[in-house]
Amino acid sequence: MVDALLRSVFEPGLFSSGPVHTAAIIGGIAAVVSGVVGTFTVMRGQSFAGHALSDVSAAGGSASFLLGISPLLGFVGMAGIAAGGMEMIGVQRARGRDLATGIVLGAGLGLAALLLYFDATFTSTTGAAITVLFGSMFAISSSTIPLVVAFSLVALGMILVVYRPLILSSVSTELAQVRGVRVRLTESIHLLTLALAVALSAMTIGAILSTALLIGPGAAALRVAHRPAWAIFSAALIGLGTTWGGILLAYDSYYWSSDHRGWPVSFFVVSLIFIAYLVSGRVGARSTHRAPKPLAIEEISSSPTQSTRS
């Protein structure tokens, strides 16, 4: 009975399939990095910058097919260049931010359009456009794993180092400055981790959709968690859960119809993120806006035990 139920959820072959393994590892890592970095991105109101970076990284992904290199290198390279460009134009200043982001985004997508056209005409990779823009997780080569791990460690390591200054400057750059935080440097490091995060998830769920993995879990986490560490942890967990859930559903979907046409993983991942966000609103509504405790009579009379309680 239990066995039959498990069987209906986990289709036979799920755990022995090589591509599923690779997708679960790479997708999982990319989701965790996106969740962690994305929490800061949402907190800082830089979702648009994240979206721009991922769109621009599409140009790198497309170029990788022409150059015959790993798509990840293409995504990371281009997102890195775009982050540098945005930094130079002035993405950190609130007023220049949207402008700089929009300009870089436009240029990058234009380049992606050109390169994808070349991919289609000059090489035999007809599916390049779909892969680059919407991802094809089951087609990722397992040889990419070490590179994914390396980039992820760099991104997570940088976040760990600037953790406190980054939170403080997200609350208020002025408070951070007074505390002696090098705000500009801290924000540049965040932008760099952002580039790495979107490049990683561009490879798994596609450049267009990677924003969902960056913003969705972070936004959902901010609605339910009250402290930074919990928000980051929840976002990573939501990212991981939705990605693995998406892989599971996509694998199952192969058996849903008799002609065995599976649905794309990216669709399921993004749908699950959307659901997670809706659910977090319900959970958050009950807990997020926790009002201050009402001033009780005993507290006014301030007995010693009352005043020391946390």
Partner: protein, 284 residues
């Protein structure tokens, strides 16, 4: 009167000395030869209408703005690194309700927010945060998100954030803006008490001096880029303020409120100043 204060400085524990500070921004002189000093335990109001240069002066004291001429001494020594011994509550700080930060987290960031790496659980830090929250009467909302608190409650948390490293000097930029009268009163009471109890020099900017009158030991009045300082009775007088503004102003005392009103001669008024802002005592 300022010369005299310098001599006292060493004895009374000087918290701040501003000497001959001028600041030029975009080719305009915002502050001209501003001098005053402030001792530990003193509560000083920095009063001036909008655009008078209050924020610029506070930023200069913090070292975020380099003066064109003049010096700033903090605790008797020339100012060193960024705000080493200075606590600061910035103007119009908007705490986003979406930021997952409880009051106690924000206070803790005042202690070690500049350090790299993740915070380690430390009893010392926890107790210190608890103490600060209690000192500003914020224990009741210690676990609430800062962004969801009322203006007065947020000010308390920001004051605790600024005080946790036990600075000798606390600067607050218009902390009473957007507060209702009751919170206004409570925040002033709190600051006045902290100044006395903890021996901190408090410098608080405001465009209306009236809420501060009961608590203020000294006043620094800025107008026209110039400053006059002393006790309220010494500074808020027709002769002193008229000289500062460069035109006749009337100082009118009604019960325990003070109204500063522009006279009829408008020649000396700076072009960008609306006549209405001259009624500094008015609460419009």
């Amino acid at each position: 009167m300022i010369e005299g204060a310098y001599d006292l400085a060493e004895d009374k524990g000087e918290a701040l000395a501003v000497e001959g500070v001028s600041v030029w921004l975009s080719g305009r002189e915002i502050l001209h030869d501003v001098s005053f000093s402030l001792h530990r335990g003193e509560f000083t109001g920095l009063i001036g209408s909008n655009g008078a240069g209050k924020t610029t002066l506070l930023r200069t004291i913090l070292g975020m703005q380099v003066p064109t001429t003049g010096t700033v001494r903090i605790g008797g020594s020339p100012r060193g690194a960024h705000g080493a011994a200075v606590g600061y509550v910035p103007q119009k700080i908007l705490l986003d309700p979406d930021i997952p930060l409880r009051s106690r987290d924000l206070v803790g960031l005042g202690f070690d927010g500049h350090r790299l790496g993740i915070p380690l659980r430390s009893k010392h830090r926890r107790i210190l945060v608890e103490e600060m929250l209690e000192a500003v009467d914020a224990s009741r909302f210690a676990d609430s998100r800062v962004g969801t608190l009322s203006g007065g409650e947020q000010q308390r948390v920001l004051i605790a954030h600024a005080l946790i490293r036990h600075p000798r000097l606390l600067l607050l930029d218009e902390p009473l803006a957007n507060l209702d009268i009751r919170s206004e009163y409570e925040v002033v009471e709190l600051l006045s008490r902290l100044a006395e109890e903890q021996g901190i020099g408090v410098l608080i900017s405001a465009h209306d001096m009236n809420p501060l009158l009961s608590a203020m030991d000294r006043i620094v009045y800025i107008a026209n880029g110039r400053a006059a300082s002393g006790t309220t009775d010494e500074v808020v007088r027709t002769e002193v303020l008229s000289k500062l503004y460069g035109s006749h102003v009337d100082v009118i005392r009604i019960h325990d409120r003070i109204l500063v009103a522009a006279g009829h001669e408008h020649d000396g008024l700076p072009a960008h100043t609306e006549p209405s802002v001259w009624a500094i005592g008015g609460r419009s």
